[in-house]
């Protein structure tokens, strides 16, 4: 979208919400927030607020979709009708269908699917408020929920958005930056495998800018990765304390 005279980065290099180019928004994470699911998580990143829940591994329905050598992940990324500026129509939009697919692929790569042949694992991501970076925050929530459900994983999937705003590469775009900026690039890494599990780009970047963006995203992801690990440890430290 064209920038209609809104200045997104000021002379001091501060962004519209006062952050520097490489600063993340405040992040809050919690696991085990929903009682009835096998694993769940809540992630808040700035004004982006997301719940994720995992059910399974369990019997897969419909049964003919079951695979003899591994589990199938069914992933739904969905936004609440009130999560965006103008009320979103009910039902899945094309965007939500696409994002469910790329998030599923990232999770499928991380989970040891071959440990649960013929089974199904349901992953539900509900965006209750969207303020940029929802697919990566949703992915982070989903991977926390999977860990919370005790499902074997190679690593936590950790995602972060980078983009180009007012000609500069910046980390963790908020909604206004996403809308009026030049590019938005969500990336998810597996730090343990030194690999990229999700990569999309919407917008224009030169090759140099792309390389810079990948580096910046990695820095951001490593910070989020530490937070995620701490969040999981915190839950179990409470359990140990209770037992004592």
């Amino acid at each position: 979208m064209e920038n209609k005279g809104i200045k997104l980065i000021n002379e001091d290099g501060k962004r519209i919400d006062g952050r520097l180019y490489n600063e993340l928004r405040p992040i809050k994470m919690e696991v085990g927030v929903l009682e009835k699911s096998d694993g769940s998580a809540y992630v808040e990143q700035g004004k982006t607020k997301i719940f994720a829940a995992v059910f399974g591994p369990k019997e897969l329905h419909p049964r003919h979709l079951a695979l003899p050598d591994r589990a199938v992940i069914n992933c739904r990324y969905h936004m609440a009708s009130f999560s965006v500026e103008e009320r979103k129509q009910l039902g899945m939009t094309r965007r939500e269908i696409e994002l469910s697919k790329v998030i599923r692929h990232a999770l499928e790569t991380a989970v040891f699917l071959e440990k649960f042949p013929r089974a199904g694992i349901d992953v539900f991501i509900e965006v209750i408020q969207a303020d940029g970076g929802t697919r990566v925050a949703g992915l982070n929530a989903a991977s926390l929920a999977l860990a919370d459900a005790g499902i074997y994983m190679r690593d936590l999937v950790v995602g972060c958005a980078v983009g180009k705003v007012d000609g500069r590469i910046v980390l963790d775009l908020c909604d206004i930056e996403d809308k009026y900026g030049e590019a938005d690039m969500p990336i998810a890494f597996s730090p343990r495998l030194n690999s990229i599990l999700l990569l999309q780009l919407n917008g224009k970047l030169s090759i140099e800018e792309f390389n810079e963006a990948i580096k910046l995203a990695k820095e951001g992801c490593m910070k989020i990765y530490e937070l995620m690990k701490e969040t999981l440890k915190k839950k179990y430290s409470y359990i140990i304390m209770e037992e004592e």
Binding site: R95, V102, V111, L193, L198, L201, L205, I207
Partner: protein
């Protein structure tokens, strides 16, 4: 199972194929005797469907995609009152592959349509402001419809080629505005094009990279990445469209190769547009 070959179906034939493709790539060879970084044979024909405003059929090896464009006059979006509209739709026809099923668009066709849309939109390929008739009231709305006719791997690149080739030859009627009314005239005009984006799909297998995977290769690759470029070699779209991992230290090389191949594809595209 090697760390490189993660989350993929573990059937024996695929494992063997994975090893075989890697072994061949080490000698810069492929199963179909291409080298690692070449495309299959490309054929682009334009204006093949008379009832459309513009159309193209593209074959990339045995993969075949047809694009047709029709226009309507519609109200613009409220946040862009002086711009024309375009909508990309894609359908994976059941006649193209046994893995495609009839019915409403599934996630793969939605993904394909959105990737093609992103390439055209982010490259600002169409001068949308020139498609406005009455600001806030009436604009041209272009429906870019893609059908996969035959699927032998990599439907992204021929789809972008077909969509852009069809757009480049599209003729829409000129409408006159008289007393706030819109009247269709006999004259026609070309769609004002500002850029000609192309996409390049690459496969990654361990530390090797290949371009334009076939269906046989797609199943055995570690990851598939589609990258869109505009005419100035800017990246305009990226989609990692399958499960699997891309080693971080390969990504710069992947982008470099993709850019070279994008230039090659665009040359083919421009030749066919000027001939067609």
């Amino acid at each position: 199972m090697s760390e490189y070959f993660i989350g993929k179906p573990s059937s024996f034939s695929i494992k063997i194929l994975h090893e075989k493709i890697y072994e061949l790539l080490s000698m810069n060879k492929r199963l179909d005797e291409r080298d690692a970084l070449s495309f299959r044979e490309i054929d682009i024909k334009t204006n093949i469907i008379e009832k459309t405003d513009g159309s193209a059929i593209v074959s990339l090896g045995k993969t075949k995609v047809i694009a047709g464009i029709k226009h309507e006059i519609e109200k613009p979006f409220s946040d862009r009152p002086n711009e024309g509209i375009f909508v990309v739709n894609a359908e994976l026809l059941p006649l193209a592959s046994k893995s495609f099923e009839p019915g409403p668009p599934d996630e793969r066709s939605v993904e394909l349509a959105r990737v093609v849309d992103r390439c055209i939109r982010e490259a600002k390929a169409i001068d949308l402001q020139k498609l406005c008739l009455i600001e806030g009231e009436s604009v041209y709305s272009l429906f870019i419809d893609l059908y996969i006719l035959d699927y032998d791997g990599n439907y992204f690149d021929p789809s972008v080629l077909a969509a852009v080739a069809a757009l480049s030859v599209t003729n829409v009627p000129i409408y006159k505005v008289e007393n706030g009314k819109i009247i269709k005239t006999e004259e026609r005009m070309k769609i004002p094009m500002k850029d000609f984006p192309v996409s390049v799909t690459l496969g990654i297998i361990k530390d090797k990279i290949l371009v334009d995977p076939t269906l046989l290769e797609e199943d055995s690759l570690d990851a598939i990445l589609t990258i869109g470029f505009d005419s100035n070699s800017n990246l305009v779209a990226i989609q990692k469209s399958n499960l699997g991992i891309i080693p971080e230290n390969l990504i710069e090389k992947i982008i470099f190769i993709a850019k070279e191949k994008a230039d090659f594809l665009r040359k083919k595209l421009m030749e066919s547009i000027s001939n067609g």
